[in-house]
Amino acid sequence: MSLSPVEGVALAEIESTGDGDGDAPKAKGFVGRSPGQLAWVRLRRDRTAMISAAMLVFFVLLAFAVPLIQALYGVGPREQFQDRLDGFGMPLGYAGGITGEHWFGLEPGLGRDIFIRMVHGLRTSLFIAFAAAVITAALGILLGTLAGYLGGWIDAVINWITDLTLAMPFLIIALALTPTVALRFYGQREAVPPAFQIGVLISIFALFGWTSTARLVRGQVIALREREFVEAARASGAGLGHMLFRQLLPNIWAPILVSFSLAVPSYITSEAALSFIGVGLTDETPSFGRMIYRSLDYLQTDPSYVFFPGITIFALVLAFNLFGDALRDALDPKSSR
């Protein structure tokens, strides 16, 4: 039996559910559960978690099914329906031009379909947010465990780099870097492809986002590294890889998972914010930030244009945040309210 503290906590919970009958692990009605299973049970019991998880699954499915939805819906994200706009460029009909063909109406001016652009925008936003969160988590875990476990000069250097990164002004660098990078790689007569813009956005997020995970992981690892089970493993001659990935990491998954689930929504809003100030994606690539940015001009004259993208990004980020909170409660019951 391992001396891992997580399992110790789990054991305590089993004991408490087992009504203090700790000395009889084989008592009747008692089921042995791994900490993962326990967390799962706790998560299942949480109604908020289940509802937000269902919403997330729905959004992710929607994002994956974009080609299918487009085929069924029969309208492309760049198609224009300007014949359905009046002389001011405002959509004809009710609530921003909602009809059977255009479920969420049309954009004023260009006359593109809002629904299909939103579905495409959902895919763009989720892809950017997930990719950025995975990369930052990976970077953060690697640097955090190394710094925390090895200590010494490596810790000092990594800490120093973390502080340096934290001190760099994110917005200013994003503003300065994005256009310059495009100019560096693409000629004056070449269009910058959306994939490149998305890549730049993800890299900027990765460049700035890894610090919080790294600090979190480092703190956790420092707390663990003097523990008995770690000492025991070290005494048995375990290598660095084994120490990091078999002994330390499994015990700090919970905070990492929570920070990951909270990072995704923050990247969704950051992408929107960057597109909003014009350094993110260009208007050709459907994205939430761009849509909301353009729709704000029409707040007074075509509120439904603001409403649909606004409510969707609101629901998406809220669902992610609620799920992240619930996940933390489930994984770390000691900190529950």
Partner: protein, 580 residues
């Protein structure tokens, strides 16, 4: 408590949406009259230049007239004034050699302002011009304005420290674009620039090396405002200009508010265009276009006699246009600011491609994309309709939505790949998306290349810029073909950088035409420019004319007499008055 708050928030959102949804937009009542025909002439009868200006119907004296604008006026000093706000504010406290009598409906007459007539072409070769100064014209301190003060005003515009204003007269007198080195104002403060003389207090004489037939137009700009040498405070004149017009600066809180009081020494009998109705004019700076327009729409208190200088922003257009109660408080007028899809003629050398672009263009869709008919009106000519002698024509008739088949036929099955360079601001991005969709339907392959907003103008004006198409805009300083066609399409003027001829169009036959027409009497040039306009479009199609900007303005219920200047396209205040 929490669920209730959530319900309340949800309810509020639902309410907003249903409110927006409950009115059906049928597209009614959204037509704009664009049939108006502009005319412009130079007054030949000296009586036209006599004051006083005809009374404005229903106008009365008194009250404070407020103008709300987002950014301050860049310069008040007449010799440094070139921004639209400055050009509209300046006539309130400055008089010029000539000025435009403007009925706000497109009827323009160039008349003498301080001068008795809009200039005398002494030898009929446009090289020597004479202006006779009116009697009884005075500065704000009561001293008379003579040709000496007008000449001093023009002389000080040579001072490089006082840059920012128009440079026509200076360049023509010096016969060189580097006028400030040719004649140094600071070393010659007591003398006058070469060619400019004031033989007696009533006469001002210009002598040029080359024919300058547009001089009467050029001196309608504030360069020709008079100033007494002992009142010249140099760069500080920007804070408090010395008045020769119906109002004088009472208080100037830089960047916040400019207050103008009546000038008692201004004599209405000498002035053919200006009035002196309100007791006070107040320019108030700060509120955004949205805020200013919303304030004027609300029509409360002092805002009742206010006008929002910035046009109704596209976000408010539909709201304002569909409010019948606001109709009497809005002004809608085309402006002389013309927009083109400029074709880089150095790169796109095939005439058929340029013609196909002209056939393909969907002006109706483009206008919807930029904000609709209260923001833009289609144009098919090189010169806007406000130009003297203008004649409407469409060299490539393709209907409001363009003729895709005709364009494809001209292309003959080829797919020209063109790069459209656009500034990365919201406005041009919208146009780029629209044009890409539009032209790709007609068989082109369009690559959109973003150019940083602040660099775009400089970049497309470089001779060897790498793009095939870009959006261009030209607002002429006076409504004559001479300030449009030769400036934009004379190939001999192409230099390495800073080209106004950003189409890089160069045709010897057309260049010869420019020379021929420029040497004609100004009064005879109008129809010739219109003919040349048509000839350039039919034979060469160097650009695709897109649309003219439309001024859409809202004023308070007590603000009267405001009209859109047919010359500059912004509100003019010479007739402004406060209704009781």
């Amino acid at each position: 408590m929490r669920p209730r708050a959530a319900v309340a928030a949800g309810g509020a959102i639902a309410l907003v949406v249903t409110l927006g949804a409950c009115s059906e937009n049928t597209g009614d009542g959204t037509t704009v009259d664009n049939t108006r025909q502009q005319t412009g002439v130079i007054a030949t009868d000296p009586k036209d230049s006599l004051g006083p200006a005809a009374e404005v119907a229903g106008a009365q004296k008194g009250g404070t007239f407020t103008i709300i604008r987002e950014t301050p006026i860049s310069h008040l000093d007449p010799q440094r004034t070139y921004s639209f706000a400055g050009l509209m504010a300046n006539p309130l406290f400055s008089r010029y050699l000539t000025t435009w009598k403007d009925d706000g409906k497109g009827g323009l007459v160039l008349v003498g302002d301080l001068a008795e007539t809009p200039g005398t072409n002494v030898n009929s070769d446009c090289k020597v011009w004479e202006f006779k100064i009116k009697d009884g014209v005075k500065f704000e301190d009561g001293t008379p304005i003579t040709s000496k003060e007008i000449a001093y005003g023009i002389a000080r515009s040579f001072n490089p420290d006082l840059a920012g204003g128009p440079t026509y007269v200076q360049e023509w007198l010096a016969d060189s674009p580097e006028y400030d080195t040719k004649w140094d104002f600071k070393k010659n403060q007591t003398s006058l620039p070469p060619g400019l003389t004031a033989p007696d207090p009533k006469t001002l004489r210009f002598e040029f090396a080359k024919p300058r037939c547009d001089l009467p137009f050029a001196v309608s700009l504030p360069t020709s405002a008079p100033l007494k040498a002992d009142k010249d405070t140099g760069v500080n004149l920007d804070q408090r200009p010395f008045s020769s017009g119906p109002y004088k600066v009472a208080k100037n809180q830089a960047g916040v508010q400019l207050t103008l009081d009546r000038n008692p020494h201004w004599d209405a009998a000498t002035d053919p265009v200006r009035h002196q109705y309100p007791d006070q004019f107040v320019w108030s700076f700060g509120p955004t276009a949205d805020a200013a327009n919303n304030r004027v729409i609300a029509d409360n208190g002092a805002d009742q006699s206010a006008v929002a200088f910035n046009y109704v922003p596209s976000s408010l257009v539909a709201k304002v246009a569909q409010d019948a109660a606001l109709k009497s408080r809005t002004i809608l007028s085309p402006t002389p600011s013309a927009n083109q899809l400029v074709i880089n003629n150095q790169r796109v050398t095939d005439l058929k491609i340029r013609q196909a672009l002209n056939y393909a263009i969907d002006r109706d869709g483009l206008i919807k994309a930029v904000g609709g008919q209260t923001v833009a009106q289609p144009m098919t000519t090189l010169m806007p309709s406000s130009t003297i002698g203008y004649e409407a024509y469409d060299a490539y008739p393709a209907g409001a939505n363009g003729n895709v088949d005709k364009a494809k036929e001209l292309l003959g099955g080829k797919t020209p790949e063109l790069v459209l360079g656009v500034a990365d601001n919201t406005g041009e991005q919208k146009i780029a998306i629209q044009l890409k969709g539009n032209l790709e339907r007609a068989g082109f392959k369009i690559t959109v290349r973003n150019i940083p907003d602040d660099a775009k103008l400089d970049e497309v004006k470089k001779k060897n810029n790498p793009w095939d198409l870009y959006i261009g805009n030209w607002a002429a300083d006076w409504p004559s073909g001479a300030s449009i066609l030769p400036v934009l399409y004379d190939g001999r003027s192409i230099k390495a950088e800073g080209n106004s001829n950003s189409a890089f169009f160069n045709d010897p036959a057309i260049n010869a035409e420019f020379d021929r027409i420029l040497a004609l009497e100004p009064t005879k040039q109008g129809p010739e420019w219109a003919k040349l306009d048509q000839k350039i479009m039919k034979e060469h199609a160097p650009v695709v004319p897109l649309y003219v900007d439309v001024a859409y303005l809202v004023h308070g219920s007590k603000a009267g007499g405001v009209f859109i200047s047919s010359v500059f396209g912004y509100p003019s205040f010479v007739n402004a008055h406060v209704k009781k």
